[in-house]
């Protein structure tokens, strides 16, 4: 990763579920995006373990970044929480049909996407302020966040076209691994929006033993 790449990532990056949702509704923007992604989707479908490398290549492509800006605008204007929940139900059922349990990962992704969508729509100034602050102070982590979101987006699109359980299992393994790391970003951004560290430390209560908790 280099700092230049990180600085060109538009804050905020689109939500993984948003892309799949847009593809289902077949609007012009998402059709163009899918056409652009087609060769990359085929590579992920062929070998899901390459998804992170492909995400990194995409994030170095200015045409992809331009499309991300358009998609970010679409997120603010059109995407709804119900739409995102429904799209995750489709993904969950797709894996469940072949006996693969993705419930935990799906919940992590829903939490991320819904929380971020709410911040963007209802708390934009504060959210963007902490996001930019995070990106400036932590360009490597910010780039990694973009890779994770892009890789998850590719996997959410690709699983729809997977033909064998074996391929779906490989995709599920990648989704689980990436969702686990995504949650660390969700929690980080949530914490950044809350009180400062100093204020947080001041709020610690002296509860020296677990016995106190057991009485509650």
């Amino acid at each position: 990763m280099n700092a230049l790449t990180a600085s060109t990532i538009p804050p905020p990056t689109p939500l993984p579920s948003q892309i799949l949702s847009g593809l289902v509704t077949r609007t012009r923007l998402y059709t163009v995006f899918l056409e652009f992604l087609r060769p990359w989707i085929e590579r992920v479908a062929d070998d899901p373990s390459t998804v992170e490398n492909i995400a990194q290549k995409l994030l170095g492509d200015t045409r992809f970044l331009y499309l991300l800006i358009m998609l970010s605008q679409d997120m603010m204007l059109r995407v709804s929480e119900d739409e995102l929940r429904n799209i995750y139900k489709i993904v969950y059922n797709r894996f469940r049909e072949v006996g693969i349990d993705l419930e935990d990962s799906i919940e992590i992704m829903i939490e991320h996407d819904l929380w971020k969508l709410r911040q963007i729509k209802k708390n934009f100034n504060n959210f963007i302020s902490i996001y930019i602050d995070f990106a400036v102070k932590n360009p490597e982590d910010t780039y990694r966040y973009a890779v994770i979101l892009t890789a998850l987006m590719l996997l959410l699109i690709t699983n729809i076209e997977a033909e064998s359980r074996e391929k779906l299992k490989l995709m599920a393994d990648e989704i689980k691994r990436l969702a686990d790391e995504l949650e660390l970003y969700t929690l980080t951004l949530m914490m950044a929006l809350e009180k400062s560290d100093e204020e947080r430390i001041k709020s610690w209560q002296q509860q020296k033993t677990l016995k106190n908790l057991k009485r509650l």
Binding site: N138, L187, T188, M191, S203, Q205, Q207, L213, L216
Partner: protein, 75 residues
């Protein structure tokens, strides 16, 4: 606190409030997990950026966040 614990803990108001809202089973699971953590049997994954001093432990659908600047765990 029992001498078998490797850390002492200081629990935040936020945690206490969340804990009070849990059902009995989840409270028990949380206490068990805290005991494992305080005995040094488990540890969490670090958050990102300037929050990497905070770590995440999973308890079912819930997440326990702690930081440990010295021997004390802030939960």
């Amino acid at each position: 606190m029992s001498s078998e614990y490797k850390h002492i803990s200081e629990i935040s108001k936020h945690f206490k409030k969340s804990f009070e809202s849990l059902d009995k089973e989840m409270k028990q699971r949380t206490i068990e997990k805290l005991e494992e953590f305080l005995k040094g049997q488990i540890s969490g994954d670090p958050l990102k950026g300037e929050y990497k001093g905070f770590k995440r432990i999973r308890i079912g659908k819930y997440r326990l966040i702690y930081s440990r600047p010295r021997e004390t765990a802030y939960i």
